[in-house]
Every structure is written in C-alpha cells, then in structure tokens.
C-alpha cells in the first residue's frame, strides 16, 4: 500500500543556547511520515524526541531554543517558512498534539466545555450551539459517560485518565492530519494507558490521521506503531519498519533499549541488561559516535568519525559502522 507523504522532515536542527554552551537537542534529523502511518519515536530522556515534536509545531521555547536549519514539509508546505499567523491555523487544525501531563494540560479555571469549544470555534468557525453539540459528541467518542454534564465541570473534578481522554478529544476535534502524542500515556497507570492508546488508535484509524507516538516505552511502540525511529543524543540512529527495527536491529543502542525491557516470559534468574553509562553532555559531543562510551562494539573507526544514517537494507536505516555485527542477542519484546 503506497500512500502519499504527509510530513517530510529534512535536516532539522534545533539548538538551545545556554550559558554552558550550545545544546544540540536535535541535530540534523530527517524522516518522512506517510498518510495514515503511525510512527514511534523512541529514545531515553533528553535525546531530543520532544524537541523534535516541538520543532514540527514551532513551539520550541525561544529564547533559548532556536531551529537553526532544516525544512519541515507538511502537506507540501514548509512549516518553518510560513508566518506565525498561518502557523496558528496549522496548530490544532492540521496537527493536534497531546502532552505528557494530563493533570496540568487543562486550564483549572475554565470549564471543560469552554476548553473543548476553543479549537472548534477558532478553526472551524462554529457557533456556540454547534461547538457545544460537537464537544459532547467528542467526549462521547473518547468514552466519557454523560458528556453533556461533564462539559460544565472543571478539570479538578476529573481524573487523570479522563483528562487525557479530554485532551485527545480536543486534539482530534478539528480532525487533524497529524497527531503528535508526546509521552501521552507516561503519567498514567498501566490499565488506563492501554485504554487511552486504544482510543487514539481507533479514532486515528477512523479519521485516517497519521500519528507520531513519542515514548520511551518500547512495548507501546511494538503494539501501535507501523515504523520506528530511534533517537539518541539529538540524532536519528535507526529508522525502519517495526519488524526491521525490533528484530533486525542495526544499532547497538536499539539493542540496548530492547534488552533493558523486562518481559513476562523472562526467566526469574535472568538479569535485565541496562545500557551502561549515561547520555553524553549535549554541549560537548565527542568527535566520533556519540554512543561510543556505552557501546560494546566500539572500534577505532567509531572514535574517529561519526557514522551517518545509511540504508542498510530495504527502507531500513542505521547509523553504525559495525551494524553487521549488531543485533544478534535479542531476548526482549516481540512485536
């Protein structure tokens, strides 16, 4: 099934200028997203996942952040070149976003209905009557009982899971082409996580929305994503379909991530294998591969020059000099 490209990110770099130096939070990242595709963007904390998402939305806090180069082509339009007013029309209408903290994502002094109506009236020019009706339909869609009453309540009268459902309703209210879920389920407990993800999947399938799931939970990605991008220290290290990345990992970081996930069928006496060391200082990245200090496969070559993302097999990209040796000892999650 071939579908047209919805989002094409080319050489995106976003830097933060701090007193300690320039942090290259996103460094020359390129990837594509097709219509209807669900992409998992994974990596540990501080690897640039969220900043990539914020860069797409042009919401990087500035100062200190700055998108220094690159193109974000969305539906044939470069989002980095349009005016702020045009961008405001893209946000919420063409691209919806769900954030990590459901407890603080809703304004405590406005009723839920008031907040749900906001994008509808702003982007679709609905009247109050229309937006009220649509808001309760949306709440019903995300599985909130008695939506008409719920619209009049305030966020503090609502649980975390419910709030995240409301956020989903809000993000999808204008039927956007792209939904970015930035750690959307991280703050929720496991059963609620699954419910929320199911809702996202069901609704986006129905609307044909492309989704970028940003998470460090590899299980979530395995369940919901079509393709996976692995980020480390501001760069894409591996990219490909779910099966390719999980079963034929071409980067030792991906292997490390998969090995550090506990699974139910793991024997009790087998120890998890965390990735040793820490993420390098982003203001002072080494000359060669940024993963070198934590890598079991490191060679002289890795120290001298940084490997670029290259196509190691059909539509599967990896950024490792030693990719042929990588990825044999998997015991982690299955797709």
């Amino acid at each position: 099934m071939t579908m047209s490209t919805l989002l094409d990110i080319k050489n995106l770099s976003t830097h933060f200028n701090t007193s300690a130096g320039t942090i290259k939070a996103v460094n020359d990242v390129s990837f594509k997203l097709r219509e209807g595709e669900t992409l998992g963007l994974v990596g540990e904390s501080g690897c640039g996942k969220s900043v990539t998402a914020l860069s797409i939305m042009r919401l990087v806090p500035s100062p200190p952040g700055r998108i220094v180069s690159g193109d974000v082509i969305f539906q044939g339009k470069n989002l980095l070149e349009i005016s702020e007013e045009e961008m405001q029309n893209v946000r919420g209408r063409d691209i919806g976003m769900i954030f990590q903290e459901p407890m603080t994502s809703l304004n405590p002094v406005l009723s839920i209905g008031r907040q749900l109506r906001e994008p509808l009236e702003l982007h679709l020019g609905m009247t109050k009557q229309q937006s009220l009706k649509r808001s309760s339909e949306l709440l019903e869609l995300v599985g909130i009982p008695d939506p008409a009453t719920r619209l009049k309540t305030f966020p503090h009268q609502t649980s975390g899971g419910q709030r995240q459902r409301i956020m989903i309703a809000m993000a999808l209210s204008c039927e956007p082409k792209l939904l970015i879920a930035d750690e959307a389920t991280t703050a929720l407990d496991v059963t609620i996580q699954a419910q929320i993800l199911e809702i996202i999947k069901e609704l986006t399938d129905r609307l044909g929305t492309s989704v970028i799931i940003i998470t460090h939970n590899l299980g979530v990605v395995a369940r919901y994503a079509d393709s996976v991008n692995v980020m480390y220290a501001g760069k894409l290290r591996e990219s490909g379909s779910l099966d390719q990345v999980y079963k034929e990992s071409k980067h030792p970081y991906t292997v490390g991530l998969l090995n550090s996930v506990p699974t139910l069928d793991l024997d009790a006496d087998v120890r998890l294998q965390p990735i040793r060391g820490e993420i390098p200082n982003l203001t002072d990245l080494p000359e060669g591969c940024a993963f070198i200090d934590r890598c079991d496969y490191a060679t002289q070559k890795c120290e001298e020059s940084e490997p670029e993302l290259e196509e190691v097999e059909d539509a599967h990209f990896g950024a490792c000099w030693e990719h042929r040796r990588v990825g044999k000892n998997l015991q982690g999650i299955t797709t």
Binding site: Q88, R91, M97, S105, P108, E137, F154, H156, M170
Partner: protein
C-alpha cells in the same frame, strides 16, 4: 474524509435571562452563607458603603445629625453625650457627623486606589510577565519606586503635586502599583510554563488569546487578595498622610484627618481619635477578610463540589 458521529446527546440551550439572574443570586447567597468570613466582611463593608452613600444624599443631616464643618466653639472637647454621640472636637464640631462624612472620603480613596492599582498593575504585570524586553524596562522602574519607603515616596509626591482628594488617590495608587505588578508578574511567570498554556498554543491559540483567556483569569485569585489589601492599605495610607497633615485638606473630613486632629487631645478627649479609629480598623479588617473569602469563592478548585 467525511466522518459521521452518532450521538444521543441533546443540544442544551442557555436558559432565559430571568432564570439565569435568579440562579446567580441563589448561588451567591449560598456561597455567602457557606463562607462566614465573606459574610461578616460583606456586612461591615455594606454598612460602611451605606453610610457613605447616605451622607452623600441631601438627607445627610437626618443620619449624621450635624453639619460636619459646623463650629460650636463653646462646646469644644465635650465627651460623648445624647446630643453628640461621639463627642465634639477642638472646634466643637460633632465627631459623629464628621466620622460618618469621613467614611465617604476614606472609601473613595480605598476603592479608587484598589481599582487603579488593579487595572494598571495587572495589565503591566501580564505584559512584563510575557515579554522579556518590557520586563527589563518596566521592572527596573518599579524596583526604583519600591526602593523608597511607601510613606516617604507618598510624602514627596504630595509635596510635588499638592494635596487634593484626587491627588491623594493618584499618589497612593502610584506608590502601590509596583507591588501589584510584581505579584501579577510572578504569577504570570509561573503560569506561562504550565502545560495548558503549551496545549493552548498547540491548538492554535494566539498570544493575545493565551494571555487573556488562559493566563489572566488564573491571576484572579492573587489579584483579588492584593486588591483587598490595597483597599485597606490605601485607607490607612490616606489616614497616615492625614495624620501627618499632608493628606486630604481639613475641610473635607476623612478618618485620617479626624484622628490627626484628635492626636493632641488624646489625654483629655480620647473620643476624637477613638471613634474614627474604630471605623477605620473595622473597614480595613472587613476588606481583608472579604478578599480572603472572595478568593475561596472564585477559585473553582476551592469552591467544592456542587
């Protein structure tokens, strides 16, 4: 892509205005009953405002009994009696009438200052909290103003502008604005980092919309408390200026200048300073507890379940 939603939800319509007004009153009464602070404070303030309004009307003499500027030199510094409930001052003027007429001035100052400071301070605070350039310029000026003790700055301004009632209000407002700005700015600085502000921006809201719809209403609680403190504070500052003899001119009675005129006779005629002092203290106290109560009522998180 065309999507159809099935729904069982009825469109609910706004009830007619009459029902809404009645409902608003019913809710307000319920809130008042549930919050004793607000109740007591509102009663005291209502009485004070009522007195002030009555003295404004042509029928003032029926309430205040005497003209506040009428001299009766033979009866000077008489203690409270059936004729002069609060006694008389050094010129034989009726302290009761003066106190009642003084409420006008004091409330005028309090309300005037609270309104000016709230409007100016909140606008400035929201702007500087959101714009770093404006922040640096405005806050340095505010810091400069705050480095003077309040009363000294007020005295200097009175000396420069002259002492009329309007000037007193403007001067106290100028002196109080920096602290209001600072409070609002601090709140805005913390609010702008909240996820719901990001979420609003991610759903396409403009900066103006975010400022007025999402940030400004959230500053309401601290602003109300500050405004009620400034209301009380302004009455006190006016009294202090009056006490120092540079406040409202003496032909306009205010609690401040009545207390001031009673100062030298405190040993022989305590009543001159005492009664306006009681009114002053009561009003400031009421303003403060009303501020507290309003905060509780207006914050949906503290409002409790319906």
């Amino acid at each position: 892509m065309e999507t159809t939603y099935e729904t069982t939800v009825d469109i609910y319509e706004d009830p007619p205005l009459k029902t809404r007004v009645r409902k608003t009153f019913a809710t307000s009464w319920k809130t008042l009953k549930s919050n004793p602070n607000l109740m007591i404070g509102s009663i005291i303030l209502t009485v004070m405002v009522g007195i002030a309004i009555l003295t404004l009307l042509p029928t003032a003499s029926t309430v205040a009994r005497y003209d506040p500027t009428e001299l009766a030199v033979r009866e000077r510094i008489n203690g409270p009696s059936a004729d002069h409930w609060f006694g008389t001052d050094k010129l034989g003027r009726d302290v009761y009438s003066r106190t009642l007429h003084g409420s006008k001035t004091s409330l005028y100052v309090g309300i005037g200052v609270a309104i000016i400071v709230t409007i100016v301070g909140t606008s400035l605070g929201v702007i500087v909290g959101y714009n770093r350039v404006a922040d640096n310029i405005v806050m340095r000026v505010m810091d400069g103003m705050m480095s003077f003790p309040t009363l000294i700055l007020a005295l200097a301004l009175v000396a420069a502008l002259g002492s009329s009632l309007t000037n007193v209000i403007i001067i106290i407002a100028i002196v109080d604005t920096p602290s209001m700005t600072r409070v609002v700015r601090a709140v805005v600085l913390s609010l702008r980092e909240r996820t719901y502000v990001d979420a609003a921006r991610a759903s396409g809201a403009s900066t103006k919309r975010i400022l007025f719809l999402h940030i400004a209403p959230n500053t309401l609680a601290p602003v109300i408390i500050q405004a009620s403190i400034f209301f009380g504070g302004a009455i006190l500052t006016e009294a202090a200026l009056g006490f120092l003899g540079v406040g409202t001119p003496e032909f306009i009675p205010s609690w401040g200048n009545i207390i001031s005129s009673g100062r030298e006779f405190i040993r022989v005629g305590f009543w001159i300073a005492f009664f306006p002092g009681v009114f002053l203290a009561l009003t400031v106290f009421a303003a403060n507890i009303v501020g507290d109560g309003l905060r509780d009522v207006l914050d949906p998180r503290l409002r409790g379940e319906k």
